[in-house]
Each structure stands twice: as C-alpha cells, then as structure tokens.
Subunit: 357 residues, 2 copies
C-alpha cells in the first residue's frame, strides 16, 4: 500500500516524537510491503512563527490531499499571550473542522507493567482500566457563535452558543456503538440532561439509537457523576460517548487515572477514512530537544491509524505487541521510569520498539 501522510511535527517535543513514529512506520513498511510518504505541514506555534498564522491555507490543502494526518503536539507558553484567534490551539480546531473530524476516540488503558504509576490505589486499579472515550469533536461550545456585548450595569458580557443537531448526535453515537461491538459491548452516554436542552436532545437521540444496537448494553450517566465514577471505579466503563466539552474534561481525567499519559494515543475521524492521529499529551516544552520525551503515545497513534484508516490490522497489532513487550522487559522513558526500569531516551525507545517488531 502507498500511504501519503501529512505530518504536523509541531512544537516542543513534537518533532522528536514524530521522528520516532516515522521510523517505526518505515520499518512496518519494509516488513509488510508499504510505502509511507511524509509531507510536513506547518501548524501551531511553529506556523505562527514562520507565517504569522496558526494554520496556513497550504497546510489545510495538503492535509486534505493526504490519506491521513499524523500530529506530534502543538502549543507552548511562548504563544500563550496571543489573542484567541491567533493561538496554536486554533490549528487543532481548524484541522478538526476543515477535515470534518467529528469523532475523537481516546482510549485510556492501564498497562500492567506500568500499574505502579497509576494514581489510584491497587484495590481499584487491579480491576483494570481499559475504556475509550468517544468525544464529539466538531460541535458544541467549541464551534458555536461567540462574542461580547455591552451588559450595561453588569459590565461587559461574553457569550458562547452551545448547539447540537440530531444528526450530529446520531453520527457520533453510531461511532460509539460500532466501537463497543468490537470491544466489551457496553456504551455509557454522558450528558447533563437534568439541566441543559442539548443534553436532553442528546439523551433522546442516544436512547433511540440504542434500539438499533440491542446487543450492546446501554446506560446514560450525568457528567458530574461520571467525573466521580472515573475515580471510584473506572473498570465499570467500556465505551463512553459524550459531547465536545464534556469529552475534553472527562478524557483528560480518564487518561490521568492511568498514570501514564505519555502512553495514550488518539484518533479523530470523520466520514471518510482520512483521520488525524496524535498523542493525547501536550508539547512539554520543558523537556523539548533533550531526547527525554516518550514517543510511545505517538507510535501507538500510528497503530490506530493503520487499523482505523487503512484496515491494516496485522501491522497495528505488530506495533502494539512490540510496545507491550518493550514495557514488559522493563524498558522505560523517564516519564514512566520506575525502580527496576531500564532508562531509554526518545531515540533509543524508538529503536527498541523497532527491534521488537
């Protein structure tokens, strides 16, 4: 297979971890007879520095012509002072909407070998954490109308519009139910239907949809309760589906309960096979350029890509197994280092995974 990837190396540790991911993909290519062609595109802080805008038109065009997008990390304190429309985050939001990537899939998985890093106590973590958050990614507060107006005596007033259509809810719901069918067959739909209207439509639509998936266990849960349950007993969850802002909060909480966010990949998909794949961690500018960053989340994002965009299951499994073996044998980057661990740098971790492929 010939695969054209648009690559956002991005900011901070982005370039280093993407380099390792490309090394792994290239080795997969050799082993299984595929060719990966990478075209770097500018997005985020580095794009602001080079072109003055976080997401140049050209980047979007190349992304749209690619088979998928691989992204390292964008942002950093350097650009934090800029106004909203000029910040690195705009690149992420822009790519999501321009590529129509409405479904963000974020697995939170506790690796046995890394159970020590889990902030939850053993009585809880030994039940395992292996859940996926399916987050709606192109609607809600993120993409509603917003602005300021004069509030008279109240001073300035800011507003954001939260909107969801039945179509948007149904299509993300389908992603969740289909995914659950390939896993432990349980969907938890999270909303705040006791207060907001979009959540009521969300709940109605999910209930109706669940009738089409009688083989999948279905429940709904209020978002505040879900925030508690993720700490109390994450093992109860298989697939959680929720709207954009709730998904942002809950997926970060869930990833932290695993204790190893340097390990967690994510995918963003739309109605075509073109997706965007990226680690859930940030750009970690404090360790950038020091060969310290953990490339595993980015490498596992490539595994997701091979499986979800290109249906290359054997290749995906090969990467995932190599990572698991490397961990089982005690190889660690500094973020996941433990007592008996053997420390590796970013490049050496990439090499080690390739060795086990």
């Amino acid at each position: 297979m010939d695969i054209k990837l648009a690559v956002v190396k991005g900011d901070g540790i982005g370039p280093e971890i993407v380099t390792e991911a490309e090394k792994v993909l290239d080795r997969i290519g050799e082993l299984y007879g595929h060719t990966f062609v990478y075209t770097d595109i500018l997005a985020g802080g580095c794009a602001i520095d080079a072109t003055g805008v976080p997401l140049p038109e050209e980047s979007v065009e190349i992304a749209l012509q690619s088979d998928s997008v691989l992204l390292g990390a964008v942002g950093g304190p350097k650009w934090d002072g800029l106004p909203g429309s000029m910040r690195p985050e705009k690149a992420l939001l822009g790519l999501r909407s321009k590529l129509g990537l409405f479904a963000n899939v974020r697995p939170a998985k506790l690796y046995r070998a890394l159970a020590d890093a889990c902030p939850l106590k053993p009585e809880i973590s030994e039940n395992g954490i292996d859940l996926v958050i399916v987050r709606e990614l192109t609607g809600g507060l993120y993409f509603g109308e917003r602005g300021r107006k004069d509030g008279g005596e109240l001073g300035e007033v800011a507003f954001d519009e939260l909107e969801y259509s039945k179509m948007e809810i149904e299509r993300i719901g389908r992603v969740a139910f289909e995914l659950a069918r390939k896993r432990r067959k349980k969907v938890t739909s999270v909303d705040k239907a006791n207060v907001i209207e979009t959540s009521r439509l969300w709940r109605e639509t999910m209930h109706a949809l669940s009738k089409e998936y009688e083989d999948v266990e279905f429940e709904d849960m209020l978002v505040d309760n879900c925030a508690m349950q993720l700490v109390r007993n994450p093992a109860q969850f298989d697939v959680i589906v929720t709207e954009n802002m709730f998904g942002d909060i809950l997926s970060d909480e869930a990833s932290m309960t695993t204790g190893s966010i340097g390990m967690l990949p994510s995918s963003s998909l739309g109605s075509t096979t073109r997706g965007m794949y990226e680690p859930i961690h940030g750009s970690a500018p404090d360790i950038a350029g020091q060969n310290k960053a953990n490339p595993i989340a980015t490498i596992l994002s490539c595994a997701m890509m091979l499986r979800d965009s290109f249906d290359l299951t054997a290749e995906a499994v090969a990467i995932e197994n190599a990572v698991a073996q490397v961990l089982n044998e005690g190889w660690r980057t500094s973020d996941i280092m433990d007592e008996n661990g053997k420390l590796l740098g970013t490049r050496e971790m990439g090499d080690k995974i390739i060795e086990y492929l």
Copy 2:
C-alpha cells in the same frame, strides 16, 4: 440569638439526616444560648407528590423570610421520568436563583481517620486533600436561554446559551479571594480560555481582580488540566474558583477523591447573610428509612451555616471538633465503615456527636 430556618427535608434519606442535624443545632442552642426555629418547606420530589410542582411559591416565600435554609437531599428515580421543568432538580435551581445564591462553596477534605477510603494511593493522599471549590451558581449554561429549533436536514436542533457578565465573574471571584485569605492564600481560577469567549472574559476579570489581592497567590488553569490535577496531586490546591458547569463537574470529582462524600457539606450564599446549606451527597433512595444514612455532611453543613451566615465561630468549631473526635474514636456509619470501626446508625451517630459537643 434567635434563628429562623426554612428546612427542606426533601426526599430519600433527606428527612433522617436533617432530623439529626436539627438535634445537633438544638443542643448547640442549649449550650450557647440560641434558639432555632424550623419551618419545613416542600421542595423536590415530595413537593411534586404533594402539590404537583417541584417548588411551590409558598416554599420560596418562607425561604425568603427565613434567616437561612437547611436542605437534606432532593430527587430520586421515582421522578426521573418527568419532563425537565417538573423534575425535583428544578427545586434546587429555583431556590438558588430566587434566593440569589450565586456562590456555592464546596470543601473537599480528607479526614485522616478516613484516609483508607480515599481512592487515591497513599503516596498521593498522604499529602492531604483540603481544598475548596467556589462555584458560580446562578449563571452560565444553567440559567441561559435554551430551546429547540428545526434544523432542516440535520433534524431537530437544541441550543443552550452560555453567558457571563463581568459583574457576575467579579463577585464570585471576590468570594474566592476572601476565602483564600482565611485559608492557605492561594486561588486557582479554572476556565477554558483557549476556546470559549466566556472563559476569556472570566480570565481577564480574574486577573484584574487578583491585583487587589496581592497577598493571595493566583494562577489560572484550564478545566481539562484541572480535571487531571485533581487526581494527580490534589494537595496543590487551596481555593478553586470556576463557572457553574465546570464547578459542577470538578466539585464532584474532587469530593470523590476524598472517598467520603457522606462527610462533605456545602454552602450557597448570595449578597445577604441568608444562605442555603446542604450535604453534597444525594438522596440515596436505596437506603432511605433504614437508619443507615450518614448524617455528618448535613451536620457539618450546619457548622458552615453557623460560621458563614451567623458569625458563630465557636459554635461551628464545636461541631467540627465533635465530628473529628467521633471519627478519631472509630465511630462510623456504614458508608465509611472500616476494619476497626464501630458501626452506628443515623440516629446513633447524631447522638454520639451531641455527646462530644
């Protein structure tokens, strides 16, 4: 002092736990020379059953004529099928807005004696959890315009308006900074300023306000990061201030990290001394009427009331000390029971606390 309280016993375990709280208040009255007069008002599920609406006009009037409101718990599966405007939660939202209670103060505190119940591992919990979430309570998505419209091909569309004025942000900010001054002098303002406009106004306003409180350490944090930090290292927080929906989610998450939500009180205050005080836990219909519920959160809510609405610090401390002693001596209700605990029912726990007053 003569104190007139409007009392919502409410649903589920509400009546039982409120009864114990009144017993404790009465004993405080005897010891310190105060008289508490209770007027029961209907709100929540029991109000729906009795009058057809969750918050009868009469209840609001009595609450407005009282010195403060004590609330047990409202809601339960019995009323879950009702339409939005007729659900028990409407009583809570109605009381908050009719009484102008814009500041919800929710301490999340780990009691040493109950550290075993904490879901976080000892390396984390031994640093202590003693934070307060100050949640804006009468604005944002909870009280914005909402509705449905026709989305053509997209099907039905639901919307909720999120709005904040500078005045609303500033007044909740002041509550947080003033509270921090009486504590460890640190405020963390939580928003999503990298995406939504209300959060940008929030951040600007909090920054400006922080200049008036140079003695208080100030930082802002994105809501997704905060959801992670509460699990990773809750000891870093003193006072967290945030908008209504974020506060709903984060305060429940924070309370769960203590492992003992049966212990946690809350207050809701406005611009007068009239507040509403309630446990943060729910109505637990499964154990209602069985003398099993933990009344401590409600009793500690009374301590908050004495301090915050009536400036009766000695009386508040007396209650808090009695509770701490009872716990230290191993007395437990079933929700916080442990290996060496001595089990008490709801009534007996109330009696025990009175014994130690």
